[in-house]
Symmetry: C2
Subunit: 358 residues, 2 copies
Amino acid sequence: MITLSVQLDQRSYPIYIGEDLLNRRELLVPHIAGRAFVVCAQSVAERYLPQVQRALGGIDHGTLLLPDGEQHKHLGTIDDVVGALIEQRFDRETTLIALGGGVVGDITGFAAASYQRGVPFVQIPTTLLAQVDSSVGGKTGVNHRLGKNMIGAFHQPRCVIADTATLGSLPDRELSSGLAEVIKYGAICDAEFFGWLEQHVDALLARDNAALSHAIARSCSNKAEIVAQDEREQGVRAILNLGHTFGHAIETETGYTTWTHGEAVAAGMCLAAEFSTRLGWLERGAQRRISDLISRARLPTAPPKIDAERFLAHMSRDKKARGDRINLVLLKAIGTAAVTHDYPLAELYGMLNRHAQG
Amino acid sequence: MITLSVQLDQRSYPIYIGEDLLNRRELLVPHIAGRAFVVCAQSVAERYLPQVQRALGGIDHGTLLLPDGEQHKHLGTIDDVVGALIEQRFDRETTLIALGGGVVGDITGFAAASYQRGVPFVQIPTTLLAQVDSSVGGKTGVNHRLGKNMIGAFHQPRCVIADTATLGSLPDRELSSGLAEVIKYGAICDAEFFGWLEQHVDALLARDNAALSHAIARSCSNKAEIVAQDEREQGVRAILNLGHTFGHAIETETGYTTWTHGEAVAAGMCLAAEFSTRLGWLERGAQRRISDLISRARLPTAPPKIDAERFLAHMSRDKKARGDRINLVLLKAIGTAAVTHDYPLAELYGMLNRHAQG
């Protein structure tokens, strides 16, 4: 087992990474204040909920199953979680436990941030994406019908338990989607890790536990280092959005259904790398290494055909935009990213237009 | 004008109290970061919104009118506020301004806490209750159908502008409701202020601006002192709930419509004083002074007839309850409160039963 500590003064917490951790009472119980309330994704309840309940042992607890899927990530579901807590008479001396993928983590985290103005919570992510992305940074929240993640809070978990055994049952497509974020960490700030990924992508796809543990730990420690510098997302943290502004445009256009988040980010990273090369920031060889690795991880390297005007409109609607300018995360090399809004818009339009023509 | 400073490290803010402050550009504008978005209660829009818009001068701003009333304080209204912000393309560089009573303040504050995980906000309360209660403490939030204020956040405003001129148009009943909270501050921690109130309650009812300013300032500074000791409501802050556990039971029983919050708190304070006397904590003369002042402020001194079992059930459902025990704020003297769950339940039942029989 690898234990990482996310350092945030007053609110530091551990991430436990390894195989078969769900049963480990000694990891979970010290982080439960008062009673416990498990919010669990329906898709994983049969397989993993009994293990977590066993780990809770004598601790009085309630459970609520949530349907899977991004379409349930809205305020109505927060209302449901709060309703279940009140009905089952869980007061503010309660620790919420999120068991499932990123959607359940985001919903449960925001419910914990908001229930009676804040109760503690623990994350037990069961997808690769949630293990490398939502476990660090304290971002919680839900979507509004007019925009993704528009309503939320920064709320740090008491601990995160990332059990690689839970990835054994993950559909291939979801595993690859998680790898998109893993590759992102290499691209933005860790060239050595990027090299390691080029050597181990097949082991990761084969769900080798040791390789997965290493990839998760390295992703989380990279993210933790960036977040520690910038907890409230004012500056450097923006580089975590590599591929995301392009990716959100793809997700918006395709209605968040045909493309997974990771697939959209993967294609978005290829666009960011291509644009970096067009601006003369990035060498063509580095751009090719990025798209090759993304392709080997069984992820798309190009967006679907979207009219360039529409693509830009989706991008500027994105919450990472400031005023009228679209901020972009671009690459100067593998392992070195920078945020800019200082680029010729015509060049961006031209690139998107070329992809629209296909 | 009186200026109070609420000291909370890193997030201190001023409260401006006085007559005709809404027009004062120099009070408002330094606290606006980026653009402004005014959320205004429909009932006061015609009268006060133009003044605030004038004070904003050249600052680009949007507005949204909200219907009045506690029944609109739910997550659906948060969804509406966020929808208006997105539609009018207000990004995270926006300061929300709450203009109206406590309901608009609570909704707008929680919308500000949650929109894109947090934007700044300014409070311009136009009721006495909101001026003395919601302006200090950073509590924001909405109701769930199963309980009041169940969903929310601690989010401090950038500044509060309490204009006593806005109280000129307040209905008598709402003025009295605000006085319930004012009297509460005297009762829990400020015997001298309680004496001042006994001398000036008629001036307050006559809406004398100087008397109102003094009462608001003294209430806010008392609250600020308590909150500064206990920002997250772990300990001493609980004394602010004098009368509230009884009061919430009255509000729950009567469906939050026939009694105002202040009226329920007033009757609740009388019950708390009576119970304190029954336990031998408080002298009978002090109990009488409390109910006399409440009566002179044109507030009820006894609850409606409610079956004692039901009353207790409502009280234990209240969020201030911990586990199975009902915490109560009781008085040891005028100006000295204490929180306890160490009292004979039969005694409490007996008192409530006597009121139920009337």
